[in-house]
Protein backbone atom coordinates (compact mmCIF):
# COMPACT_ATOMS: atom_id res chain seq x y z
CA UNK A 1 0.00 0.00 0.00
CA UNK A 2 1.43 3.36 -0.95
CA UNK A 3 1.48 6.08 1.64
CA UNK A 4 -1.12 8.12 -0.24
CA UNK A 5 -3.50 5.20 -0.34
CA UNK A 6 -3.05 4.62 3.37
CA UNK A 7 -3.83 8.26 4.11
CA UNK A 8 -6.95 8.21 1.94
CA UNK A 9 -8.23 5.01 3.44
CA UNK A 10 -7.45 5.88 7.03
CA UNK A 11 -7.95 9.63 7.19
CA UNK A 12 -9.23 9.36 10.77
CA UNK A 13 -5.89 7.95 11.92
CA UNK A 14 -4.00 10.63 10.02
CA UNK A 15 -6.10 13.56 11.22
CA UNK A 16 -6.41 12.31 14.79
CA UNK A 17 -2.76 11.28 14.88
CA UNK A 18 -1.61 14.67 13.63
CA UNK A 19 -3.64 16.54 16.24
CA UNK A 20 -2.44 14.28 19.02
CA UNK A 21 1.20 14.48 17.87
CA UNK A 22 1.03 18.27 17.81
CA UNK A 23 -0.28 18.32 21.36
CA UNK A 24 2.45 15.91 22.46
CA UNK A 25 5.09 18.14 20.82
CA UNK A 26 3.65 21.19 22.58
CA UNK A 27 3.74 19.32 25.89
CA UNK A 28 7.34 18.17 25.43
CA UNK A 29 8.69 21.53 24.34
CA UNK A 30 6.46 23.60 26.64
CA UNK A 31 9.28 25.68 28.19
CA UNK A 32 10.52 26.69 24.72
CA UNK A 33 7.10 27.48 23.27
CA UNK A 34 5.42 29.24 26.18
CA UNK A 35 5.87 33.01 25.95
CA UNK A 36 5.94 33.42 29.76
CA UNK A 37 7.04 31.33 32.70
CA UNK A 38 4.26 29.28 34.23
CA UNK A 39 5.04 30.94 37.56
CA UNK A 40 4.69 34.46 36.12
CA UNK A 41 1.90 36.29 37.88
CA UNK A 42 1.54 40.05 38.01
CA UNK A 43 -1.64 41.58 39.36
CA UNK A 44 -1.04 44.70 37.31
CA UNK A 45 -1.96 42.64 34.23
CA UNK A 46 -5.01 40.99 35.83
CA UNK A 47 -7.87 40.38 33.39
CA UNK A 48 -5.98 41.83 30.39
CA UNK A 49 -7.97 40.94 27.27
CA UNK A 50 -6.35 38.92 24.48
CA UNK A 51 -3.92 41.08 22.52
CA UNK A 52 -0.32 41.53 21.46
CA UNK A 53 1.11 41.17 24.95
CA UNK A 54 -0.99 38.21 26.06
CA UNK A 55 -2.22 36.35 22.98
CA UNK A 56 -5.08 34.68 24.82
CA UNK A 57 -5.40 37.23 27.58
CA UNK A 58 -4.52 37.08 31.26
CA UNK A 59 -6.50 35.65 34.15
CA UNK A 60 -7.58 37.20 37.44
CA UNK A 61 -4.07 36.92 38.88
CA UNK A 62 -2.42 38.40 35.81
CA UNK A 63 -1.11 35.06 34.55
CA UNK A 64 -0.71 34.48 30.82
CA UNK A 65 -3.42 32.04 29.76
CA UNK A 66 -1.55 30.78 26.69
CA UNK A 67 1.51 29.80 28.73
CA UNK A 68 -0.64 28.06 31.31
CA UNK A 69 -2.50 26.18 28.56
CA UNK A 70 0.82 25.04 27.08
CA UNK A 71 2.06 23.78 30.43
CA UNK A 72 -1.37 22.35 31.15
CA UNK A 73 -1.06 20.03 28.16
CA UNK A 74 1.71 18.26 30.11
CA UNK A 75 -0.57 17.63 33.06
CA UNK A 76 -3.52 16.46 31.00
CA UNK A 77 -1.45 14.12 28.85
CA UNK A 78 0.45 12.82 31.84
CA UNK A 79 -2.70 12.07 33.83
CA UNK A 80 -4.37 10.56 30.76
CA UNK A 81 -1.42 8.34 29.83
CA UNK A 82 -0.43 7.16 33.29
CA UNK A 83 -3.95 6.59 34.59
CA UNK A 84 -4.77 4.69 31.41
CA UNK A 85 -1.59 2.65 31.85
CA UNK A 86 -2.73 1.68 35.34
CA UNK A 87 -6.20 0.89 33.97
CA UNK A 88 -4.83 -1.22 31.15
CA UNK A 89 -2.43 -3.05 33.45
CA UNK A 90 -5.18 -3.91 35.95
CA UNK A 91 -7.74 -4.70 33.26
CA UNK A 92 -5.46 -6.89 31.14
CA UNK A 93 -4.06 -8.80 34.13
CA UNK A 94 -7.47 -9.50 35.64
CA UNK A 95 -8.98 -10.24 32.23
CA UNK A 96 -6.22 -12.70 31.29
CA UNK A 97 -6.52 -14.61 34.57
CA UNK A 98 -10.29 -14.54 34.44
CA UNK A 99 -10.47 -15.81 30.89
CA UNK A 100 -7.64 -18.32 31.07
CA UNK A 101 -8.39 -19.98 34.40
CA UNK A 102 -12.18 -19.76 34.40
CA UNK A 103 -14.07 -21.29 37.33
CA UNK A 104 -13.91 -19.63 40.75
CA UNK A 105 -11.25 -17.11 39.72
CA UNK A 106 -13.40 -16.05 36.80
CA UNK A 107 -16.51 -15.74 39.00
CA UNK A 108 -14.68 -13.62 41.57
CA UNK A 109 -13.06 -11.28 39.07
CA UNK A 110 -16.21 -10.87 37.01
CA UNK A 111 -18.24 -10.26 40.17
CA UNK A 112 -15.89 -7.46 41.17
CA UNK A 113 -15.90 -6.08 37.63
CA UNK A 114 -19.67 -6.01 37.50
CA UNK A 115 -19.90 -4.22 40.82
CA UNK A 116 -17.39 -1.55 39.78
CA UNK A 117 -19.10 -1.30 36.40
CA UNK A 118 -22.45 -0.74 38.04
CA UNK A 119 -21.30 2.56 39.50
CA UNK A 120 -20.92 5.60 37.26
CA UNK A 121 -17.18 6.33 36.87
CA UNK A 122 -17.63 10.00 37.68
CA UNK A 123 -19.34 9.23 40.99
CA UNK A 124 -16.81 6.57 41.97
CA UNK A 125 -13.82 8.76 41.18
CA UNK A 126 -15.46 11.67 43.03
CA UNK A 127 -15.78 9.45 46.11
CA UNK A 128 -12.14 8.39 45.87
CA UNK A 129 -10.97 11.98 45.40
CA UNK A 130 -13.05 12.96 48.43
CA UNK A 131 -10.99 10.53 50.49
CA UNK A 132 -7.57 11.20 48.98
CA UNK A 133 -7.91 14.96 48.71
CA UNK A 134 -6.94 17.11 45.71
CA UNK A 135 -3.66 16.70 43.81
CA UNK A 136 -2.37 15.41 40.50
CA UNK A 137 -0.99 12.15 41.92
CA UNK A 138 -4.25 11.41 43.71
CA UNK A 139 -6.11 12.14 40.48
CA UNK A 140 -3.92 9.56 38.78
CA UNK A 141 -4.67 6.98 41.45
CA UNK A 142 -8.42 7.65 41.48
CA UNK A 143 -8.81 7.47 37.72
CA UNK A 144 -6.43 4.54 37.42
CA UNK A 145 -8.47 2.59 39.92
CA UNK A 146 -11.90 2.91 38.31
CA UNK A 147 -11.56 2.76 34.54
CA UNK A 148 -10.25 -0.77 34.00
CA UNK A 149 -13.56 -2.65 33.80
CA UNK A 150 -14.10 -2.42 30.07
CA UNK A 151 -10.53 -3.50 29.28
CA UNK A 152 -10.97 -6.39 31.68
CA UNK A 153 -14.16 -7.62 30.04
CA UNK A 154 -12.79 -7.38 26.52
CA UNK A 155 -9.51 -9.07 27.51
CA UNK A 156 -11.47 -11.86 29.20
CA UNK A 157 -13.71 -12.41 26.18
CA UNK A 158 -10.76 -12.48 23.77
CA UNK A 159 -8.77 -14.78 26.06
CA UNK A 160 -11.72 -17.16 26.31
CA UNK A 161 -11.77 -17.64 22.55
CA UNK A 162 -7.98 -17.90 22.22
CA UNK A 163 -7.72 -20.42 25.06
CA UNK A 164 -9.40 -23.03 22.85
CA UNK A 165 -6.98 -22.58 19.95
CA UNK A 166 -4.68 -25.43 18.94
CA UNK A 167 -1.51 -23.42 19.39
CA UNK A 168 -2.31 -22.94 23.07
CA UNK A 169 -2.65 -26.71 23.45
CA UNK A 170 0.62 -27.10 21.55
CA UNK A 171 2.37 -24.63 23.84
CA UNK A 172 1.00 -26.42 26.88
CA UNK A 173 2.13 -29.79 25.47
CA UNK A 174 5.62 -28.37 25.02
CA UNK A 175 5.64 -27.59 28.72
CA UNK A 176 5.32 -23.80 28.66
CA UNK A 177 4.45 -22.21 31.98
CA UNK A 178 1.09 -20.47 32.26
CA UNK A 179 2.83 -17.13 32.53
CA UNK A 180 4.73 -17.80 29.30
CA UNK A 181 1.58 -18.91 27.49
CA UNK A 182 -0.27 -15.79 28.57
CA UNK A 183 2.63 -13.51 27.67
CA UNK A 184 3.83 -15.10 24.44
CA UNK A 185 0.71 -16.70 22.98
CA UNK A 186 -2.38 -14.95 24.31
CA UNK A 187 -1.34 -11.35 24.86
CA UNK A 188 0.10 -10.63 21.38
CA UNK A 189 -3.14 -11.84 19.82
CA UNK A 190 -5.38 -9.50 21.76
CA UNK A 191 -3.24 -6.37 21.54
CA UNK A 192 -5.38 -4.79 18.79
CA UNK A 193 -8.63 -4.33 20.72
CA UNK A 194 -6.70 -3.38 23.86
CA UNK A 195 -4.87 -0.64 21.98
CA UNK A 196 -8.15 0.79 20.68
CA UNK A 197 -9.75 0.77 24.12
CA UNK A 198 -6.63 2.35 25.62
CA UNK A 199 -6.61 5.17 23.07
CA UNK A 200 -10.28 5.97 23.53
CA UNK A 201 -9.77 5.58 27.29
CA UNK A 202 -7.08 8.28 27.39
CA UNK A 203 -9.63 10.74 26.00
CA UNK A 204 -12.18 9.72 28.63
CA UNK A 205 -9.65 10.05 31.42
CA UNK A 206 -8.45 13.47 30.31
CA UNK A 207 -12.06 14.62 30.26
CA UNK A 208 -12.76 13.03 33.63
CA UNK A 209 -9.64 14.57 35.18
CA UNK A 210 -10.64 17.99 33.89
CA UNK A 211 -14.19 17.48 35.18
CA UNK A 212 -12.96 16.58 38.66
CA UNK A 213 -10.60 19.56 38.66
CA UNK A 214 -13.42 21.80 37.52
CA UNK A 215 -15.52 20.60 40.45
CA UNK A 216 -12.61 21.47 42.74
CA UNK A 217 -11.62 17.98 43.85
CA UNK A 218 -9.03 17.23 41.15
CA UNK A 219 -5.86 19.23 40.59
CA UNK A 220 -5.14 21.75 43.29
CA UNK A 221 -6.26 25.31 42.51
CA UNK A 222 -3.31 27.21 41.08
CA UNK A 223 -2.14 24.22 39.06
CA UNK A 224 -2.25 25.01 35.34
CA UNK A 225 -4.65 22.12 34.74
CA UNK A 226 -7.25 22.90 32.07
CA UNK A 227 -10.25 21.94 34.17
CA UNK A 228 -8.93 23.79 37.20
CA UNK A 229 -8.36 26.89 35.04
CA UNK A 230 -12.02 26.79 34.06
CA UNK A 231 -13.34 26.36 37.57
CA UNK A 232 -12.97 30.00 38.62
CA UNK A 233 -13.76 31.25 35.13
CA UNK A 234 -17.48 31.43 35.76
CA UNK A 235 -17.03 34.20 38.33
CA UNK A 236 -15.40 36.32 35.61
CA UNK A 237 -17.59 35.19 32.73
CA UNK A 238 -19.09 38.63 32.30
CA UNK A 239 -15.88 40.68 32.46
CA UNK A 240 -13.28 38.25 31.18
CA UNK A 241 -14.83 35.42 29.13
CA UNK A 242 -11.41 34.47 27.72
CA UNK A 243 -10.52 32.83 31.04
CA UNK A 244 -13.29 30.31 30.38
CA UNK A 245 -13.12 30.05 26.60
CA UNK A 246 -9.55 28.93 25.87
CA UNK A 247 -8.92 26.11 28.37
CA UNK A 248 -12.11 24.50 27.10
CA UNK A 249 -10.99 24.83 23.49
CA UNK A 250 -7.69 23.12 24.35
CA UNK A 251 -9.52 20.33 26.13
CA UNK A 252 -12.02 19.94 23.31
CA UNK A 253 -9.35 19.71 20.59
CA UNK A 254 -7.35 17.15 22.60
CA UNK A 255 -10.36 14.93 23.21
CA UNK A 256 -11.60 15.26 19.64
CA UNK A 257 -8.14 14.32 18.35
CA UNK A 258 -7.87 11.26 20.60
CA UNK A 259 -11.42 10.12 19.80
CA UNK A 260 -10.80 10.45 16.08
CA UNK A 261 -7.53 8.54 16.37
CA UNK A 262 -9.23 5.82 18.42
CA UNK A 263 -12.09 5.43 15.93
CA UNK A 264 -9.60 5.28 13.07
CA UNK A 265 -7.48 2.66 14.85
CA UNK A 266 -10.56 0.56 15.46
CA UNK A 267 -11.44 0.54 11.76
CA UNK A 268 -7.84 -0.17 10.81
CA UNK A 269 -7.14 -2.96 13.27
CA UNK A 270 -10.52 -4.58 13.15
CA UNK A 271 -12.10 -4.14 9.72
CA UNK A 272 -14.83 -6.65 10.46
CA UNK A 273 -16.20 -4.86 13.47
CA UNK A 274 -17.02 -1.56 11.90
CA UNK A 275 -17.22 1.67 13.86
CA UNK A 276 -20.67 3.24 13.97
CA UNK A 277 -21.08 4.85 10.62
Amino acid sequence: MTMWKFIRKNNAIVIGGTVVSLIVIVAIFAPFIAPYSVKMSDLKYALTPPGAQFLLGADQYGRDILSRLIYGSRLSLMVGLFAQMINTLIGVTLGLFSGYYGGKIDDTIMGLTNIVLSMPILILSLAIMAILGPGIINLLIALGAVGWTYTCRVTRAETLSIREKDYIDAARALGCSTFRILRKHVLPNILGPILVIATLGVADIILMAATLSFLGVGAQPGTPEWGAMLSRGRDYLYYAPWISIFPGVALFITILGLNTLGDGLRDFLDPYRKTLK
Binding site: A130, T211, F214, L215, L237, G248, I255, T260, L276
Partner: protein, 310 residues
Protein backbone atom coordinates in the same frame (compact mmCIF):
# COMPACT_ATOMS: atom_id res chain seq x y z
CA UNK B 1 -40.42 -14.51 31.51
CA UNK B 2 -41.38 -14.83 35.20
CA UNK B 3 -38.40 -17.07 35.97
CA UNK B 4 -36.16 -14.62 34.16
CA UNK B 5 -37.60 -11.77 36.19
CA UNK B 6 -37.08 -13.61 39.48
CA UNK B 7 -33.57 -14.68 38.55
CA UNK B 8 -32.62 -11.19 37.47
CA UNK B 9 -33.92 -9.81 40.77
CA UNK B 10 -31.94 -12.38 42.75
CA UNK B 11 -28.79 -11.46 40.83
CA UNK B 12 -29.50 -7.86 41.68
CA UNK B 13 -29.07 -8.38 45.43
CA UNK B 14 -25.35 -9.32 45.55
CA UNK B 15 -24.56 -6.42 43.22
CA UNK B 16 -26.43 -4.07 45.51
CA UNK B 17 -24.62 -5.44 48.57
CA UNK B 18 -21.26 -5.18 46.83
CA UNK B 19 -21.93 -1.61 45.81
CA UNK B 20 -23.01 -0.53 49.30
CA UNK B 21 -19.98 -2.28 50.79
CA UNK B 22 -17.57 -0.50 48.45
CA UNK B 23 -19.17 2.86 49.10
CA UNK B 24 -19.23 2.26 52.85
CA UNK B 25 -15.59 1.18 53.01
CA UNK B 26 -14.44 4.04 50.81
CA UNK B 27 -16.19 6.74 52.80
CA UNK B 28 -15.53 5.41 56.27
CA UNK B 29 -11.79 5.27 55.94
CA UNK B 30 -11.84 8.95 55.01
CA UNK B 31 -8.99 10.67 56.85
CA UNK B 32 -9.82 13.53 59.18
CA UNK B 33 -11.94 12.75 62.20
CA UNK B 34 -15.50 13.80 61.44
CA UNK B 35 -16.28 14.38 65.11
CA UNK B 36 -13.20 16.53 65.57
CA UNK B 37 -14.02 18.62 62.52
CA UNK B 38 -17.73 18.95 63.18
CA UNK B 39 -17.47 19.30 66.93
CA UNK B 40 -15.33 22.38 66.57
CA UNK B 41 -17.89 25.09 65.77
CA UNK B 42 -20.15 24.18 68.66
CA UNK B 43 -17.99 23.11 71.54
CA UNK B 44 -14.43 24.22 70.76
CA UNK B 45 -12.02 21.33 70.95
CA UNK B 46 -13.37 20.10 74.28
CA UNK B 47 -12.57 16.38 74.28
CA UNK B 48 -15.83 15.66 76.10
CA UNK B 49 -17.91 17.23 73.34
CA UNK B 50 -16.02 15.32 70.69
CA UNK B 51 -16.37 12.08 72.60
CA UNK B 52 -20.11 12.75 72.94
CA UNK B 53 -20.39 13.34 69.20
CA UNK B 54 -18.46 10.19 68.38
CA UNK B 55 -20.78 8.28 70.67
CA UNK B 56 -23.87 9.94 69.17
CA UNK B 57 -22.88 9.09 65.61
CA UNK B 58 -21.69 5.63 66.58
CA UNK B 59 -18.15 6.28 65.36
CA UNK B 60 -16.60 4.33 68.24
CA UNK B 61 -17.91 0.96 67.08
CA UNK B 62 -15.81 -1.32 64.89
CA UNK B 63 -16.36 -1.06 61.12
CA UNK B 64 -18.21 -4.37 60.55
CA UNK B 65 -20.79 -3.46 63.19
CA UNK B 66 -21.19 -0.04 61.65
CA UNK B 67 -21.69 -1.59 58.23
CA UNK B 68 -24.40 -3.94 59.44
CA UNK B 69 -26.14 -1.08 61.26
CA UNK B 70 -25.80 1.03 58.11
CA UNK B 71 -27.42 -1.69 56.01
CA UNK B 72 -30.20 -2.16 58.55
CA UNK B 73 -30.97 1.56 58.54
CA UNK B 74 -30.74 1.64 54.76
CA UNK B 75 -33.50 -0.92 54.43
CA UNK B 76 -35.68 1.32 56.60
CA UNK B 77 -34.84 4.28 54.37
CA UNK B 78 -32.75 5.89 57.10
CA UNK B 79 -29.53 7.36 55.73
CA UNK B 80 -28.24 8.67 59.03
CA UNK B 81 -27.79 12.19 60.39
CA UNK B 82 -25.75 14.88 58.68
CA UNK B 83 -22.54 15.78 60.51
CA UNK B 84 -22.95 19.40 59.60
CA UNK B 85 -26.61 20.23 59.32
CA UNK B 86 -27.77 18.13 62.28
CA UNK B 87 -30.71 16.94 60.21
CA UNK B 88 -31.71 13.63 58.76
CA UNK B 89 -29.87 12.94 55.50
CA UNK B 90 -33.03 11.52 53.93
CA UNK B 91 -34.77 14.85 54.61
CA UNK B 92 -31.98 16.89 53.04
CA UNK B 93 -31.92 14.64 49.99
CA UNK B 94 -35.68 14.60 49.68
CA UNK B 95 -35.76 18.38 49.41
CA UNK B 96 -33.39 18.31 46.48
CA UNK B 97 -34.34 15.13 44.69
CA UNK B 98 -37.06 16.68 42.58
CA UNK B 99 -34.70 19.27 41.08
CA UNK B 100 -32.27 16.60 39.91
CA UNK B 101 -34.97 14.31 38.57
CA UNK B 102 -36.49 17.18 36.65
CA UNK B 103 -33.13 18.11 35.14
CA UNK B 104 -32.27 14.53 34.22
CA UNK B 105 -35.70 13.80 32.75
CA UNK B 106 -35.70 16.93 30.61
CA UNK B 107 -32.12 16.27 29.53
CA UNK B 108 -33.11 12.74 28.60
CA UNK B 109 -36.22 13.79 26.68
CA UNK B 110 -34.15 16.28 24.79
CA UNK B 111 -31.43 13.71 24.06
CA UNK B 112 -33.83 10.99 22.94
CA UNK B 113 -36.05 13.12 20.74
CA UNK B 114 -33.14 15.06 19.23
CA UNK B 115 -30.80 12.09 18.95
CA UNK B 116 -33.24 9.60 17.49
CA UNK B 117 -34.70 12.21 15.14
CA UNK B 118 -31.29 13.27 13.86
CA UNK B 119 -30.08 9.69 13.53
CA UNK B 120 -33.20 8.56 11.71
CA UNK B 121 -33.21 11.35 9.14
CA UNK B 122 -29.45 11.07 8.63
CA UNK B 123 -29.79 7.38 7.85
CA UNK B 124 -32.79 7.81 5.55
CA UNK B 125 -30.90 10.50 3.66
CA UNK B 126 -27.54 8.78 3.91
CA UNK B 127 -24.72 10.74 2.29
CA UNK B 128 -26.72 13.98 2.05
CA UNK B 129 -25.45 17.30 3.35
CA UNK B 130 -27.82 16.92 6.31
CA UNK B 131 -26.30 13.55 7.13
CA UNK B 132 -22.73 14.83 6.97
CA UNK B 133 -23.44 17.91 9.07
CA UNK B 134 -25.41 15.90 11.62
CA UNK B 135 -22.64 13.35 12.00
CA UNK B 136 -19.92 15.99 12.32
CA UNK B 137 -22.16 17.55 14.96
CA UNK B 138 -22.43 14.18 16.70
CA UNK B 139 -18.67 13.67 16.85
CA UNK B 140 -18.31 17.21 18.17
CA UNK B 141 -21.03 16.68 20.75
CA UNK B 142 -19.34 13.56 22.05
CA UNK B 143 -16.01 15.28 22.56
CA UNK B 144 -17.19 18.55 24.06
CA UNK B 145 -16.67 18.84 27.85
CA UNK B 146 -20.12 19.49 29.30
CA UNK B 147 -19.00 21.97 31.93
CA UNK B 148 -17.30 24.07 29.29
CA UNK B 149 -20.32 23.86 27.01
CA UNK B 150 -22.44 25.07 29.93
CA UNK B 151 -20.16 28.05 30.51
CA UNK B 152 -20.09 28.92 26.80
CA UNK B 153 -23.88 28.73 26.48
CA UNK B 154 -24.18 30.85 29.60
CA UNK B 155 -21.92 33.45 28.01
CA UNK B 156 -23.39 33.36 24.49
CA UNK B 157 -27.09 33.00 25.25
CA UNK B 158 -27.22 34.50 28.71
CA UNK B 159 -24.68 37.32 28.61
CA UNK B 160 -24.20 38.31 24.95
CA UNK B 161 -27.69 37.70 23.59
CA UNK B 162 -29.43 38.07 26.92
CA UNK B 163 -32.28 35.77 25.87
CA UNK B 164 -32.18 33.29 28.74
CA UNK B 165 -31.17 33.61 32.40
CA UNK B 166 -27.51 32.68 32.91
CA UNK B 167 -27.92 30.41 35.92
CA UNK B 168 -29.99 29.47 38.93
CA UNK B 169 -33.10 27.39 39.32
CA UNK B 170 -35.50 30.34 39.15
CA UNK B 171 -38.91 29.33 40.32
CA UNK B 172 -38.55 26.21 38.26
CA UNK B 173 -39.69 27.99 35.09
CA UNK B 174 -38.90 26.81 31.59
CA UNK B 175 -36.45 29.63 30.83
CA UNK B 176 -34.11 28.50 33.61
CA UNK B 177 -34.35 24.90 32.49
CA UNK B 178 -33.42 25.15 28.81
CA UNK B 179 -29.65 25.72 29.06
CA UNK B 180 -28.96 23.15 31.80
CA UNK B 181 -31.10 20.49 30.11
CA UNK B 182 -29.38 21.14 26.78
CA UNK B 183 -25.92 21.03 28.39
CA UNK B 184 -26.76 17.78 30.12
CA UNK B 185 -28.31 16.21 27.06
CA UNK B 186 -25.86 17.10 24.28
CA UNK B 187 -23.37 14.29 24.83
CA UNK B 188 -26.14 11.70 24.99
CA UNK B 189 -27.95 13.19 22.04
CA UNK B 190 -24.77 12.84 19.99
CA UNK B 191 -24.34 9.26 21.09
CA UNK B 192 -27.95 8.36 20.37
CA UNK B 193 -27.80 10.06 16.98
CA UNK B 194 -24.86 7.86 15.97
CA UNK B 195 -26.45 4.77 17.48
CA UNK B 196 -29.84 5.21 15.87
CA UNK B 197 -28.31 6.12 12.54
CA UNK B 198 -26.35 2.89 12.42
CA UNK B 199 -29.36 0.94 13.76
CA UNK B 200 -31.52 2.28 10.94
CA UNK B 201 -28.82 1.54 8.37
CA UNK B 202 -28.71 -2.04 9.64
CA UNK B 203 -32.43 -2.44 9.09
CA UNK B 204 -32.86 -0.53 5.82
CA UNK B 205 -31.68 -3.39 3.63
CA UNK B 206 -33.59 -6.17 5.40
CA UNK B 207 -35.85 -8.34 3.29
CA UNK B 208 -39.00 -7.33 5.09
CA UNK B 209 -38.38 -3.72 4.16
CA UNK B 210 -38.12 -4.66 0.49
CA UNK B 211 -41.24 -6.78 0.86
CA UNK B 212 -43.14 -3.89 2.39
CA UNK B 213 -42.07 -1.61 -0.45
CA UNK B 214 -42.83 -4.13 -3.17
CA UNK B 215 -46.33 -4.76 -1.90
CA UNK B 216 -46.95 -1.11 -2.54
CA UNK B 217 -46.97 0.45 0.91
CA UNK B 218 -46.48 4.20 1.06
CA UNK B 219 -42.86 5.16 1.71
CA UNK B 220 -43.89 6.93 4.90
CA UNK B 221 -45.50 3.76 6.24
CA UNK B 222 -42.44 1.69 5.33
CA UNK B 223 -40.18 4.18 7.06
CA UNK B 224 -42.12 4.38 10.27
CA UNK B 225 -43.74 1.00 10.69
CA UNK B 226 -41.04 -1.22 9.24
CA UNK B 227 -37.76 0.62 9.58
CA UNK B 228 -38.17 2.97 12.51
CA UNK B 229 -39.88 0.59 14.90
CA UNK B 230 -37.40 -2.22 14.34
CA UNK B 231 -34.39 0.04 14.54
CA UNK B 232 -35.64 1.48 17.79
CA UNK B 233 -35.11 -1.62 19.94
CA UNK B 234 -31.33 -1.39 20.42
CA UNK B 235 -31.60 2.38 20.66
CA UNK B 236 -34.03 2.20 23.57
CA UNK B 237 -31.63 -0.05 25.44
CA UNK B 238 -28.78 2.38 24.97
CA UNK B 239 -31.01 5.31 25.91
CA UNK B 240 -32.05 3.58 29.12
CA UNK B 241 -28.47 2.82 30.08
CA UNK B 242 -27.53 6.41 29.32
CA UNK B 243 -30.12 7.73 31.72
CA UNK B 244 -28.10 6.37 34.63
CA UNK B 245 -24.94 8.03 33.35
CA UNK B 246 -26.91 11.21 32.92
CA UNK B 247 -27.84 11.19 36.61
CA UNK B 248 -24.11 11.20 37.36
CA UNK B 249 -23.53 14.11 34.98
CA UNK B 250 -26.04 16.23 36.89
CA UNK B 251 -23.21 16.67 39.41
CA UNK B 252 -21.40 18.79 36.84
CA UNK B 253 -24.35 20.57 35.28
CA UNK B 254 -25.91 21.51 38.63
CA UNK B 255 -22.58 22.93 39.77
CA UNK B 256 -22.17 24.97 36.58
CA UNK B 257 -25.68 26.40 36.69
CA UNK B 258 -25.90 26.71 40.51
CA UNK B 259 -28.86 24.40 40.88
CA UNK B 260 -29.64 22.96 44.30
CA UNK B 261 -30.00 19.29 43.45
CA UNK B 262 -28.46 16.02 44.56
CA UNK B 263 -25.44 16.54 42.31
CA UNK B 264 -24.44 19.88 43.77
CA UNK B 265 -25.25 18.57 47.27
CA UNK B 266 -22.75 15.78 46.64
CA UNK B 267 -19.99 18.23 45.74
CA UNK B 268 -20.84 20.51 48.67
CA UNK B 269 -20.73 17.62 51.11
CA UNK B 270 -17.23 16.70 49.91
CA UNK B 271 -16.02 20.17 50.82
CA UNK B 272 -17.91 20.11 54.12
CA UNK B 273 -16.59 16.62 54.89
CA UNK B 274 -20.15 15.65 55.65
CA UNK B 275 -19.79 11.89 55.17
CA UNK B 276 -23.41 10.83 55.80
CA UNK B 277 -24.75 13.30 53.22
CA UNK B 278 -22.03 12.38 50.73
CA UNK B 279 -22.79 8.72 51.28
CA UNK B 280 -26.51 9.33 50.85
CA UNK B 281 -26.07 11.23 47.59
CA UNK B 282 -23.75 8.62 46.13
CA UNK B 283 -26.09 5.82 47.18
CA UNK B 284 -29.13 7.51 45.64
CA UNK B 285 -27.36 8.02 42.31
CA UNK B 286 -25.79 4.56 42.21
CA UNK B 287 -28.96 2.74 43.24
CA UNK B 288 -30.98 4.70 40.69
CA UNK B 289 -28.38 3.76 38.09
CA UNK B 290 -28.68 0.07 39.07
CA UNK B 291 -32.47 0.07 39.09
CA UNK B 292 -32.63 1.75 35.69
CA UNK B 293 -30.24 -0.82 34.24
CA UNK B 294 -32.41 -3.58 35.65
CA UNK B 295 -35.56 -2.05 34.17
CA UNK B 296 -33.89 -1.66 30.79
CA UNK B 297 -32.91 -5.30 30.90
CA UNK B 298 -36.45 -6.32 31.66
CA UNK B 299 -37.94 -3.97 29.07
CA UNK B 300 -35.69 -5.44 26.44
CA UNK B 301 -37.40 -8.80 26.66
CA UNK B 302 -40.76 -7.13 26.38
CA UNK B 303 -39.83 -5.01 23.37
CA UNK B 304 -38.15 -7.73 21.39
CA UNK B 305 -40.21 -10.92 21.42
CA UNK B 306 -37.42 -12.76 19.61
CA UNK B 307 -35.36 -12.72 22.78
CA UNK B 308 -35.95 -15.82 24.82
CA UNK B 309 -34.86 -15.95 28.42
CA UNK B 310 -34.43 -19.49 29.58
Amino acid sequence: MITFLVRRLIQFIPTLLGVTLIIFILLNVMPGDAALLSGNPRGGTDPKVIEALREKWGLNDPLPIRYVRFLGNLVKGDLGISFRLDRKVSEVINERLFVTLRLATCGMLFAVIGGVGLGFFSAIHQGSAFDIIAMIGAVTGMSIPNFWLGLMLMYLVGVLLGILPTSGYGGGDLAHLILPAFTLGVRYMALLARMSRSAVLDVVHEDYVNTARSKGLAERVVQFRHIFRNALIPVITIAGLQFGGMLASTVVVETVFSWCGIGSLLVESIFRRDVPVLQGCILIIVVAFLVINLLVDLAYGYLDPRIQYD
